[in-house]
């Protein structure tokens, strides 16, 4: 047996080190459908607790919507459970092509290719469209999946300071000699909830003959007047060369992702992107659910409008209660606590009050930037948000941080 005690000890020590560093992640078991209210078993073995969920990416509240569930059920009946094949052998059904066409229409792009996840889309896209003559210039706060995708690509890399357009311009000048220059950014940044300045990025791209890549996973379905995403919000629909996004958040929340954009770039992904070539795509049941999601949000903006109202209420309420939030307009609302332990203690107290939210700290966010990231949903009703706000206010008062400045909180709890 190769996995002997010496080898086991190596991993046990590594796991112990992760625990000692306070960054050991534990799953919390949800015993109900995903929704504004959920049943949670935490810690494992504890009795189930009914809580309000303030940390799901269920922005449009469609994860358990009856029409989506019904469409998924019909898809299961009509197209079966699995494909048992990658796309280009015998793993492509009519509904996969239908979903790709619907996504292109919704995002305002020329073509779309599905991936098993947006993590896979980001892992595959750069290597498929760029080579060593090219350069990728990314915002320094892009998602980890983009970082991994860039690592797999042979093109040169460079970065610009977060949303710093002057710095980006310097980099575009520095790499003027590259065959293709690709500017890479998130649309909505998942930890701070701020939006990329896509209008200015597109202007720079046009000036320096560069392409633009946007991961709009935390925006597709609800940012912009009709929910098309950050490019709609910034007035640059049709000007983004590559959009990646997920079906695992607002767009039904199950799984799956895509690369959407210029026809030739999407075709390059069909020919060369390894996560597309070497794994099954999204199963029929999820495809059917996703088509229903796009039908729902293409007919009416009711859900994204409600999400916008909930976001305004929540941002205003937290601020008036005396908590420090990251300014912005997205439904990602970080409550800043700065100290890592305080973020954990605060989340635990909230859980006691029936509110489920999670504290984030280094290395997920920068040192001294610990926070509780709250996320709004169109599934939240006023009574949910009233109760959550009361709990945040109560717990904030308990820790003595209401109406305190950042420095006062740091003085009290340290960094």
């Amino acid at each position: 047996m190769a996995f002997n005690n010496d080898i086991r000890n190596i991993y046990q020590k590594e796991l112990a080190d992760i625990r000692a560093a306070g960054i050991f992640k534990e799953e919390r078991i949800i015993c109900s459908p995903q929704n504004a209210e959920i049943e949670v078993e935490f810690p494992a073995g504890a009795s189930r607790k009914h809580v309000i969920n303030m940390c799901a990416n269920n922005y449009l509240g469609l994860s358990s919507h009856p029409d989506v569930v019904e469409a998924a059920r019909k898809g299961l009946d009509s197209r079966g459970y699995g494909m048992s094949s990658v796309r280009f052998i015998c793993g492509t059904q009519d509904i996969h092509k239908e979903l790709e066409a619907q996504l292109s229409k919704f995002l305002g792009t020329e073509d779309t290719i599905l991936f098993p996840s947006c993590m896979d889309a980001n892992a595959g896209v750069f290597e498929a469209v760029l080579n060593e003559q090219d350069v990728m210039i990314s915002d320094r706060l892009v998602h980890a999946s983009i970082v991994d995708g860039m690592r797999l690509c042979k093109a040169k890399t460079d970065t610009f300071k977060h949303s710093d357009m002057g710095h980006l311009e310097e980099k575009l000048q520095l790499h003027a000699d590259a065959r293709v220059k690709l500017i890479i950014t998130d649309g909505a940044f998942s930890m701070d909830g701020d939006l990329a300045k896509l209008d200015q990025i597109v202007t720079l791209a046009e000036k320096y003959n560069a392409l633009v890549f946007v991961d709009d996973s935390h925006a597709s379905g609800f940012i912009g007047k009709t929910g098309r995403g950050t490019h709609e919000h910034c007035g640059v629909l049709g000007k983004i060369d590559i959009i990646t996004t997920t079906l695992g958040k607002a767009l039904g929340g199950a799984s799956g992702g895509c690369v959407s954009g210029r026809r030739e770039l999407v075709e390059m992904c069909r020919q060369k992107a390894r996560p597309y070539l070497f794994s099954n795509t999204i199963p029929p049941v999820v495809v059917s659910g996703a088509i229903a999601v796009l039908d729902i949000i293409s007919k009416t903006t009711e859900r994204r409008d409600k999400l916008e109202r909930n976001t305004s209420f929540w941002r205003k309420g937290l601020t008036e209660a005396g908590l420090i939030i990251k300014e912005g307009e997205t439904p990602i609302v970080p409550v800043m606590l700065f100290n890592a332990k305080l973020s954990q203690d605060f989340a635990n107290e909230l859980y006691g009050e029936g509110i489920y939210a999670v504290g984030f700290f280094f290395p997920v966010v920068a040192k001294g930037q610990a926070r509780i990231r709250t996320q709004l949903s169109a599934a939240h009703e006023p009574h949910h948000l009233d109760k959550a706000l009361a709990a945040f206010t109560k717990v904030g008062a308990k820790f003595g941080i209401l109406h305190k400045t950042k420095q006062e909180i740091i003085d009290q709890y340290g960094l």
């Binding site: 320094r140 970082v147 860039m150 890399t157 460079d158 970065t159 300071k161």
Partner: protein
């Protein structure tokens, strides 16, 4: 020498630290292994040195170790007779 060091250190601070980042960087601070410069951003440091001193640093010499501190970069530049 000290002027050369200062030019490089000033560039590193301007290029890699955010405005609210108050980390102290000295001549021997580990830049790459210390997480100040990530591997994706190293290229701009290489380009800066090449442009500033009119040299070509071969990729084989532009290793994370060679760029890991201002002191290390000074040693690298000495190979190009820049002192």
């Amino acid at each position: 020498m000290s002027e050369l060091k200062k030019i490089i250190l000033d560039y590193v601070k301007k290029e890699y630290l955010e405005e609210d980042d108050d980390r102290e960087i000295t001549y021997d601070s580990p830049l790459i292994s210390g997480g100040i410069v990530d591997s994706f951003s190293m290229v701009s440091l290489k380009r800066f040195l090449e442009t500033k001193f009119t040299i070509q640093i071969p990729d084989a010499k532009a290793s994370p170790e060679a760029f890991d501190s201002v002191d290390n970069i000074i040693l690298l530049l000495e190979e190009f007779n820049i002192r």
